[in-house]
């Protein structure tokens, strides 16, 4: 079902061969997804689907049109091209047109693993069966989601570029609840290599949190020192990427990195000096795409180094306007400490009074000017007293500026980063646990 490089090349060139327009890019992709969802200690739904798609964007006299289809036979590809050209012919000029890329050289990444693509349904049923048995043994009510996907795809331009790559992913998230509904635990991990996904560890961590979270106490909301597990950091910061570091938004005066007079804050120290945020396509634990922003060969890009804003993301049009090179990324998100790291246990041990957070939920921006968000803790919050986890807590709502959270002086410690994905979506990142001096919990939540 997945298209090979030769098939993708043949299809994209076929599409370009049908194009009469001055300039064009064509892309073709295929994917395979499968999942098993379980809840209330039972199998809920399970399925597979295949997918494929073709897309063409054309420019006629500087006017742009775009069309797509998921039927790749000649008649439908022809209809797709005709549709795009019809749209272009009746559209106003594309004022942001930049000619498509000429031939580029890509350095491949390693995000495809055959064993992940060929996941066995029987093996998965056995693994989930073992987890369901573990729930029964622990006396909890469990739910979870196992999913795997693989995709191949590529694009070609009328100016001679061709780019093909493939990737795989597999993930498992598990929630365990106590039968009385007073405690809940959660754990999620994902990887491109199914051999690296320890499904039983994920289930046991969720169960442990549920069991240890019983008899949670309510305490007053307020400003607390917090230790955030990597999952909580992923939920808050996993979305760092193109949008957050968008140069045009900053230059137009409507972003967190805007400076007066149509300028931006490049070069300013905004974050704690130990923080580095970067993208690395060839990171073995978190391989990114070999191409960024529609075909630019990806490279390592440091967004923040020693707390200083080193790069913003310029697309090809905005780079041309600002007379800079377009940014070859980001294609993934890695946050790490420049200095010595601490383990989660060391962070707890060095805390006299603070709160340990395992997960955040339903995070929504409340003010783009300060990068402020609101959201809630979920599935595991604990009081830390005198260097030890003292007792479980009920949940809180928070209101917090991300930038203030990572500001100089507020970051007390970071661990080595590990691969973790946001529980609200957004894929994987390499993120540390963090100890923060101040974090604003603003109300209690009785939800479990």
């Amino acid at each position: 079902m997945l298209l090979t490089e030769a098939e993708v090349k043949a299809l994209t060139l076929k599409i370009l061969g049908m194009v009469k327009a001055d300039d064009a890019s064509a892309s073709v992709g295929s994917n395979k997804q499968s999942h098993l969802r379980f809840a209330a200690n039972n199998v809920l739904t399970s399925g597979t689907r295949g997918g494929r798609n073709a897309n063409v964007t054309v420019w006629i006299g500087g006017k742009r049109g775009s069309a797509s289809t998921n039927d790749l036979d000649d008649a439908n590809l022809r209809a797709m091209v005709d549709q795009a050209e019809k749209i272009a012919s009746t559209s106003p000029p594309d004022r942001e047109y930049v000619p498509t890329l000429s031939k580029q050289t890509y350095r491949p990444t390693s995000g495809y693993v055959e064993a992940t693509a060929n996941l066995s349904l029987a093996d998965r049923a056995r693994q989930i069966g073992a987890i369901l048995a573990e729930f029964e043994k622990a006396g909890v009510i469990g739910a979870g989601f196992h999913s795997a996907n693989s995709q191949t795809g590529g694009s070609a331009t009328k100016n001679g570029n061709f780019d093909y790559e493939r990737s795989t992913g597999v993930g498992l998230s598990v929630t365990a609840r106590t039968p009385d509904g007073t405690s809940s635990g959660y754990f999620l991990r994902s990887h491109h290599d199914i051999a690296k996904l320890d499904t039983m560890r994920i289930a046991r961590e969720a169960i442990r949190k549920a069991v240890e979270g019983k008899n949670a106490r309510a305490i007053e909301p307020g400003v607390y020192t917090v230790v955030l597990e990597p999952q909580a950091v992923a939920d808050l910061l996993g979305g760092f990427g193109f949008g957050f570091f968008n140069a045009r938004t900053a230059d137009e005066g409507r972003g967190i990195f805007s400076a007066p007079g149509g300028k931006n804050k490049l070069g300013e120290k905004i974050f704690d000096e130990r923080i580095s945020i970067y993208s690395d396509p060839w990171n073995a634990e978190l391989p990114g795409s070999q191409s960024s922003q529609g075909g630019i060969p990806a490279q390592m890009v440091k967004m923040v180094e020693n707390g200083v804003l080193k790069n913003l993301v310029y697309n090809r049009y905005w780079a041309q306007q600002k007379k800079v090179d377009p940014t070859p990324g980001p294609v993934n998100t890695i946050i790490e400490s420049n200095g010595p790291t601490q383990t989660l246990e060391q962070m707890i041990a060095s805390t006299d009074r603070g709160i340990l957070v395992g997960r955040f939920w339903y995070i929504r921006q409340t003010d783009p000017r300060t990068a402020s968000s609101t959201g809630l803790t979920r599935d595991g919050v604990w009081m830390i007293e005198n260097g030890k986890i003292a007792y479980p807590l009920k949940n809180f709502r928070f209101n917090q500026s991300t930038v203030k959270m990572l500001a100089p002086g507020n970051v007390l410690a970071m661990s080595k980063p590990e691969r973790v994905g946001s529980s609200e979506g957004g894929g994987g990142s390499l993120l540390p646990a963090m100890k923060l001096k101040e974090f604003n919990f603003t109300s209690q939540s009785e939800a479990v």
Partner: protein, 532 residues
């Protein structure tokens, strides 16, 4: 869980253990031609259903669906992109030994239908060995039907240049306002052509059109920027939606309000009475009423992602959800409602029923595999999949707040407030996984002083607890104030699916709600709620 409305056409990646932000079919293809792919749907259905039966299925269905999307994006005086596309495929669901199996494919041929049905059966059989409790379906009458949503002009028949001109005119109206720097606008149209055949003998064709115009006007001040979005929401309606209202005048007004917001005073946190306009209230209904009355959440089926519910089956008919004025009706027949259908994805007819009656929680949103678990012998028809390739599962119908029988106006509601805030538009929405604690923002905020609307405020959000909030309602607008706003991107389930849904409502008044200031990044003023 609601995603940004601008995600209506934005492709997003699927995350593990979490949700995508778009209908799954958008992930495969965005936009194209009107050429219909001719297939003999009944022959394909016969093949799927007979194969499923031969492999031991006690129930099976096949959906053969085609989706079309057209989207046009603009900013200021330029069109950024016009795209159109189509996505076609089928999905087969089988129930074997009380366990579901599903498979889908974009290759719509007889051989592929047989292969995919066999694959779905193999999945069900592989998982049946670890199933602890068998799925049981309530019956539904066999039906043959052809249903079309209500629209006057099919947007897919309208020339592109008419649409781009409409957007540029809208932008020009906003840009005519002194002090406005940016305007982004978008038109998106969706057409779903759905065929369903079930092993119960039902065969149903449905044709659905949705139209979504939207814009954002932004003003940049000294070290500051403020935006105001369109207050009208997408509907299940045709291209006529664009001429039913003066959108350009609304864009101009939004631009004026964005400029005004730059110098508006920041709200002082505290307790206020709130009058919530339908353009805002609909999402509060969605989050605090629509989701907790989903039965699958109460059954813990969503525990791993969207969450459970503070409502449980034992509270049915007993729990005081709101004040006696509060009536919520679930409705899959409501005109312009985006969740309105002739039939759901397992052949249950669209219907309407009370979820909350005279303030008391009385009923659930159900499907054929959940109804029996609360002692029902029929489904309310809430099964839906966002693609041929997605597993259908319980999704929200339109959930609407019944207006007052009296001719109450919004001004009448405002007149009853000494110190309050009038809120328009959808802003930031966040609610916990059991739907107790929420915090909602808006687009524009107006101070109410001594029964009259005074000046604009900014940086407003309110935080409350669901039953306290609805318990504080003491005023509803009449039928003339009733609107049907909706959201195209309600995310739920794993793998994540997106649902389009509307929430009809009049303006409503709530007493003594906790208001906080969002500008400080600390939610100042919020530390006063304690529900333990």
């Amino acid at each position: 869980m609601i995603f940004s409305r601008r995600d209506f056409i934005r492709t997003a990646g699927i995350a593990f253990g979490a949700a995508a932000t778009l209908p799954s079919w958008v992930l495969d293809a965005q936009a194209m031609t009107a050429a219909y792919l001719e297939v003999n749907k009944n022959a394909l259905a016969d093949a799927a259903l007979s194969t499923a039966k031969r492999l031991g299925a006690s129930y099976a269905d096949i959906r053969i669906n085609r989706y079309r999307l057209e989207a046009i994006n603009s900013r200021e005086r330029q069109i950024q992109n016009v795209s159109s596309g189509q996505n076609f495929g089928f999905g087969v669901r089988v129930l074997i030994n009380g366990t579901w199996g599903f498979a889908g494919s974009p290759i719509v041929t007889l051989d592929e239908v047989k292969r995919v049905t066999t694959e779905a059966a193999a999945i069900a059989k592989a998982n049946a060995s670890i199933t602890k409790k068998k799925i049981e379906l309530v019956p539904t009458p066999k039906v043959t039907a052809n249903w079309k949503s209500s629209f006057e002009r099919d947007p897919f028949d309208i020339p592109t240049e008419e649409k781009t001109a409409w957007l540029l005119k809208l932008n020009e109206a906003a840009l005519s306002v002194k002090g406005i720097n940016f305007v982004n606008s978008q038109l998106a149209f969706v057409n779903e052509q759905k065929f369903l055949a079930t092993s119960d003998g039902s065969r149903i064709d449905q044709y659905i059109i949705r139209t979504n115009p939207s814009f954002t006007a932004t003003a940049v001040g000294k070290g500051d920027f403020q935006s105001v979005n369109s207050l009208r929401e997408p509907q299940q309606i045709g291209y006529e939606y664009l001429s039913k209202h003066d959108w350009a005048a609304e864009a101009k007004l939004a631009a004026e309000h964005a400029v005004m917001k730059l110098s508006a005073p920041s709200v002082t946190p505290g307790k206020y009475d709130l009058v919530l306009h339908p353009s805002h209230l609909f999402l509060t209904i969605h989050e605090s009423v629509g989701h907790p009355t989903e039965l699958d959440r109460a059954l813990l089926w969503e525990a791993n992602y969207a969450g459970t519910s503070f409502l449980t089956p034992d509270k049915t008919g007993k729990l005081q959800f709101g004040s006696k004025m509060v009536n919520f009706v679930a409705d899959r027949t409501q005109p312009q409602g985006m969740a309105t259908v002739g039939y759901d994805d397992e052949a249950v007819p669209g219907q309407s029923w009370h979820l909350v009656k005279d303030g008391v929680f009385v009923d659930w949103q159900t499907t054929r595999d959940t109804a029996k678990l609360v002692g029902k012998n029929k489904s309310y028809g809430c099964l839906h999949a966002d693609s041929w390739g997605s597993v259908p599962f319980p999704r929200m119908p339109n959930v609407s707040l019944t207006p007052s029988k009296d001719a109450v106006t919004q001004d009448d509601l405002v007149a009853g407030v000494d110190k309050g805030i009038l809120i328009y538009g959808r802003g930031s929405y966040s609610i916990d996984q059991q739907r107790y604690n929420f915090q909602f923002g808006g687009q524009t905020f107006w101070e109410i002083k001594n029964g009259k609307v005074a000046g604009m405020l900014r940086d407003v959000a309110y935080q409350s607890r669901t039953t306290d909030f609805w318990g504080s309602l003491d005023g509803l607008g009449g039928q003339a104030t009733y609107e049907v706003p909706g959201s195209p991107n309600d995310g739920k389930g794993e793998p994540g699916q997106s649902n389009a849904v509307s929430h009809g409502c009049p303006p409503a008044r709530f007493r003594q709600i906790n208001v906080l200031n969002t500008a400080s990044g600390t939610g100042a003023g919020q530390m006063m709620e304690d529900h333990e």
